[in-house]
Assembly symmetry: C2
Homo-oligomer: 245 residues x 2
C-alpha cells in the first residue's frame, strides 16, 4: 500500500478490524437491524470494517464486485462519469445507508462509482453473506427493499430541489441537505469541493464559486474554522423556496 496523505491525519484505505454486528452502536440504522444476535454466529464470509480517506474509491462503475457497503460514518458520493470525463453526482449517502445494493438482484457489476467525500467508515458485507442470511431471515429482504425505497425517495427529492431552477436556489437546497445530513453538534457543515458542488447541482464550477461568494458576502454563510461553515438556515431556506433576493 502506498501512503499518499490527502489530509494530515491518515491516508489510505485501511482495514480497521472485524465488524462485531452484535455490539454495533448504530445497528438500528443498519441493514442488519432486526436480525437476532445468533444470526452472526456462522457467517459464510466475514464482515470487515473499513476506513476510507476523502477521495478514496469504494468501487468504480462497470467493475465486477461481490460486496455491499453500509456506511457507519461520513458521506459517500455516488457518481456517473460521462464519456468526456465529466462527473455527475447522483446521490450523497450518509450513516445508515447501504451502497452497492444493485448486486443483490443477481448482477455482479456496479452501476455507479462510489467515492468517499469525507473520512468514511463502512462495513464491507459480502453478497453471499446477505443472500445466505436472506434465506434464513426473510425479513432481511424487506430491509433491503426499504433501503432501496429510501434511495428512491432521496433521489426524487434531489431531482425536485437541485435538478432545476436558478443556480442560487439549487445551491441553497444543497446547503440545506448538507446541514440536515452532515451537520455536527454545533450545526456546522463541511462544504464539498467546488467541483463536487458543481457536479451535484449541474452547473459550472465558476457559477458555484460566484454564488457561494455572494452568500458569504451577504452573511448567509459564515466560515467558523478551516473547512467548517455555519449557515443561516432560516434565510437559506427562504432563498431555496422563494425566488427573491
Amino acid at each position: 500500500m502506498t501512503r499518499e496523505a490527502q489530509h494530515s491525519y491518515c491516508t489510505d484505505t485501511q482495514w480497521v478490524g472485524r465488524s462485531e454486528c452484535r455490539v454495533c452502536n448504530i445497528r438500528s440504522m443498519m441493514l442488519f437491524s432486526g436480525l437476532p444476535d445468533e444470526a452472526f454466529e456462522r457467517l459464510l464470509r466475514p464482515i470487515d470494517n473499513m476506513a476510507f480517506p476523502p477521495g478514496a474509491i469504494l468501487y468504480e462503475a462497470g467493475t465486477h464486485g461481490d460486496v455491499v457497503y453500509t456506511i457507519r460514518r461520513g458521506l459517500v458520493k455516488m457518481l456517473h462519469v460521462g464519456a468526456d470525463g465529466s462527473q455527475r453526482i447522483l446521490r450523497l449517502l450518509g450513516a445508515g445507508s447501504a451502497v452497492g445494493l444493485e448486486l443483490l438482484d443477481g448482477g455482479d457489476v456496479y452501476r455507479h462509482s462510489a467515492v468517499a467525500a469525507n473520512q468514511v467508515d463502512a462495513c464491507r458485507i459480502p453478497v453471499v453473506t446477505i443472500e445466505a442470511l436472506e434465506h434464513e431471515f426473510p425479513e432481511l429482504t424487506r430491509q433491503a427493499r426499504q433501503r432501496l425505497q429510501q434511495h428512491l425517495d432521496r433521489t426524487d427529492e434531489w431531482v425536485l430541489t437541485m435538478g432545476s431552477g436558478p443556480a442560487r436556489q439549487r445551491l441553497a437546497h444543497l446547503l440545506l441537505f448538507l446541514t440536515r445530513y452532515t451537520a455536527d453538534r454545533n450545526g456546522d457543515i463541511e462544504l464539498l469541493s467546488g467541483e463536487d458542488m458543481a457536479a451535484v447541482v449541474g452547473t459550472s464550477v465558476e457559477t458555484v464559486s460566484r454564488v457561494v461568494a455572494d452568500l458569504k458576502r451577504r452573511g448567509l454563510l459564515e466560515r467558523v474554522a478551516a473547512h467548517l461553515y455555519r449557515c443561516d438556515t432560516q434565510a437559506i431556506e427562504a432563498l431555496a423556496n422563494d425566488a427573491d433576493a
Copy 2:
C-alpha cells in the same frame, strides 16, 4: 360518473373485469411472475382490471390508499406538484412497471401523483393481497425489490440524460426514451403534450415548442398521422450525445 370525452372513444375510468393472473399474457413482466398458479386460488381481496383514459388520475400525492397498480398497457406519469401548482414529472412508467410500491413499506400515503398519459390498462392489487402472498412466497419480496431497483435505474438515467445540458439535447433524450418504451410496430410514437414535455425536461413550454418545431423543420421528426410521429433515431441519437447542430 360524468362523461366528458377526451377522445372519441371512451371516457372514464372503468372497471373492466376481474383479473385472471393465471392467463395473463404478459405475466412474465409483471410483479407476480414466478408465482405458481395455485397462488391465486384464495386471495384475500380480488384483483381488478382497470381502464384509465388519458389524463385520468390513478392516485394523488399525499392521499391515503391501499392498492398498488401494475401497468399492462400505456404510459403512466409520476409527478410532483409544487406549492405554486407547477408540475414536475419524475418518471414515466410503461407495461410491466408497478406504481405505488411505496405502500409496501408500511406507510399508507402515496408519495407522488400517478396520472395516465395514454390510454392505460392496469391491474389494481390490494396491498393486503401482496403482503399475504409475500408471507407465503418470499420470492415475491425479491420481485418487488427488483421493481424498485428498476425505478431507481430509470430515474438515474433520467437525471443523467434529461436533467442537464441544452434543452435540445434533453428533448432528444426524451424522444429516444419514448421511442424505446412506447413505439408501435412501425416505430412511431405519440408525443406528450407540450406541457408534459416541459415538465419532464424542466424547461418552459415555449422552449419545448421551439425545439420541436426546429426538429420538424430539419426533418428529424415527421408527422405520419394525427398524434403520431416518426423520428430519425440515428440523427436524434447523435444530437442527444454530441453537442452539435
